[in-house]
């Protein structure tokens, strides 16, 4: 294992890590607002990526399809929250989990039915020539990192500096007080889902050129996103980002030098169980004390 080889894997890890970070961020956003883990996040992202594929296939230029898909994903997320999740928001945990799994399964089979199970290739908008003269990363890797950074920066700015972002943060932290200042908490939840779905769709479109488009493409990636979110702290957006990068690098480095490519999901499993058992609040999350 030479230093160069290690660096290559670390960089590749950062590129995929950015994708995991985006998906993990979507998970954290929904968790912060609802204390629910969206098991269907991966399938939602996959389905939206298929929509992008269909648009591109129909002749739309890549970036046009990209933007339109993000918009569609946003609306999709809002609708799912209002129509399917809202009725069970306060139901027992098992009921909610079952609904999420139902959603996962429906989206997966819908994608298979509409778009068939044949594996498709999904274009990368970054071309084949080295971008900006950078040679140690593929253009897609560099491009993915760029897109991830832009998305994260936009989200951060939105939540930190806009009134709506502030209201959404408030609604997630303290719904009752939020109502007392006039915030329509229900709609904040729906918006949160919309944003999470939009971010997820971007993750899907960045990962599809690498793993090829297929209804089951997000299963393993969702697992990594879970591991990343837990590692960083399921209620910490910053933690999700750091967790995503760490998981991406770990996956690549361990996969290349220690355990081989076939056991990558097992790494995610070990990470998830390890974090849950050893330090459930992750590195940056808050420790929850439940009052008896």
């Amino acid at each position: 294992m030479t230093f160069d080889a290690l660096m290559l894997q670390v960089i590749a890890g950062l590129a995929t890590g950015g994708i995991y970070a985006s998906l993990a961020l979507a998970l954290v956003m929904i968790y912060q607002a609802t204390h629910l883990v969206n098991f269907a996040q991966g399938e939602m992202a996959m389905f939206c990526t298929y929509i992008a594929w269909a648009l591109i296939n129909a002749g739309m230029p890549y970036w046009g399809a990209f933007v339109l898909t993000v918009g569609i994903a946003f609306v999709f997320g809002v609708l799912i929250e209002r129509l399917i999740i809202r009725p069970v928001e306060n139901a027992p945990v098992l009921a909610v989990v079952v609904v999420f799994i139902g959603l996962l399964v429906i989206l997966n089979s819908l994608a298979g039915w509409i778009f068939t199970y044949t594996i498709k290739s999904f274009p990368s908008p970054f071309g084949v020539q080295p971008l900006f003269g950078v040679r140690f990363m593929s253009p897609h890797q560099l491009g993915s990192i760029g897109v991830t950074v832009v998305v994260l920066a936009l989200l951060y700015a939105f939540f930190r500096f806009t009134p709506l972002g502030l209201a959404m943060r408030a609604a997630a932290q303290n719904p009752e007080s939020s109502r007392l200042v006039g915030i329509r908490v229900g709609w904040m939840l729906a918006l949160g889902w919309g944003l999470a779905a939009a971010v997820g769709s971007i993750a899907g479109m960045m990962v599809a050129p690498i793993v090829y488009l297929d209804p089951n493409m997000m299963g393993g990636i969702l697992l990594y996103a879970f591991a990343a979110a837990l590692l960083g702290g399921i209620d910490s957006p910053g933690g999700a980002v750091v967790g995503g990068l760490v998981v991406g690098v770990l996956e690549n480095v361990l996969g290349a030098f220690v355990i081989g490519n076939e056991l990558k999901l097992v790494v995610a499993l070990v990470l998830i169980i390890g974090v849950l058992v050893v330090r459930p609040s992750g590195f940056f999350g808050r420790v929850h004390v439940s009052r008896v």
Binding site: H35, L36, V37, F39, I84, P87, V88, A91, V93, L94, A95, V97, V98, V99, I101, G102, L103, L104, V105, I106, L107, N108, S109, L110, G112, W113, Y117, G219, G220, L222, L223, F226, A227, L230, G260, E262, L263, K264, L265, V266, A268, L269, I272, I273, L276, V277, P280, V292
Partner: protein
Amino acid sequence: MTKRTWAVLAALLVIACVLPFVLSNYRTFQAALVLVYAIALLGLNILTGYNGQISLGHGAFYAIGAYTAAMLMDLAGFPYWATVPVAGAVCLVAGFLFGLPALRLEGLYLALATFALGVSMPQLLKIHQLEKWTGGVQGIVIAKPDAPAFFPSIGLPLNQDQWLYFFILAVTLVMFLLAYNLLHGRVGRALIAIRDQHTAAEVMGINTALYKSLAFGVSALYTGVAGALGAIAVQFVAPDSFNVFLSITFLVGIVVGGLASLPGALYGALFIQFVPNIADEISKAAPWAIFGVFLIAFVYVMPTGVAGAVRILTARRKSP
């Protein structure tokens, strides 16, 4: 149990015994699979329905049972019937061991951890270093057992499918009987108490940690036994059949069949065995779309499952 329930069960038993002689071999095989799934669903129900611990990864225990049976038959020459208790024992230990760290995990987090287990199971089964035991990607093929010589000798020639059916039926009866005793006694009440009022149960002196881990172990045992029987019936184990969708299938089974209900396991097994058969005609994606819709619909409309509906209907007829 009331006299009426005994009568119904006796009638069902008679029907069950007659079935293999009136159905084709393939249908008998399907009926055997229904029984196998019923045992698996009973296992999941013990954990999730009666004890409230959510598992999205029970396919893993089914896989462990199946592989235990296959490896014992393939590598150690065990007779098929001996592999079943061994598979059960292995899964009891595996479940208990998984249940220990799971003690610290509540609802959603446990669902997450078991989901991870379910998703990564195929990869675990394909581990390169274990290939000479697990058969790697191709899995293991096992021979179909013959009916013991006893039966033709008394003039009752049973073919392989019929014998397998009766063998599985016998195991099913034993498993259900054991579960009935377990769940209707002190243990069952403790499990339900832990599910409904965890803190109160602890304060009352119930050793919740022990019961919860045991619930995991016993639940895994049941699903593992089902896995072993399933492997013997299907004559084949391979990693990719034990992915997370198997775990989700089990979840569908208990939600549709009815949580915390013994008959629910049977209703659910019928559902998960026959819906794919029928829906497959429509399209490859249809069975899962139906499963998904039923999952959501049952949560909204029939949260007690088919068993709950049956209970309500039969209760109404009794009141004057």
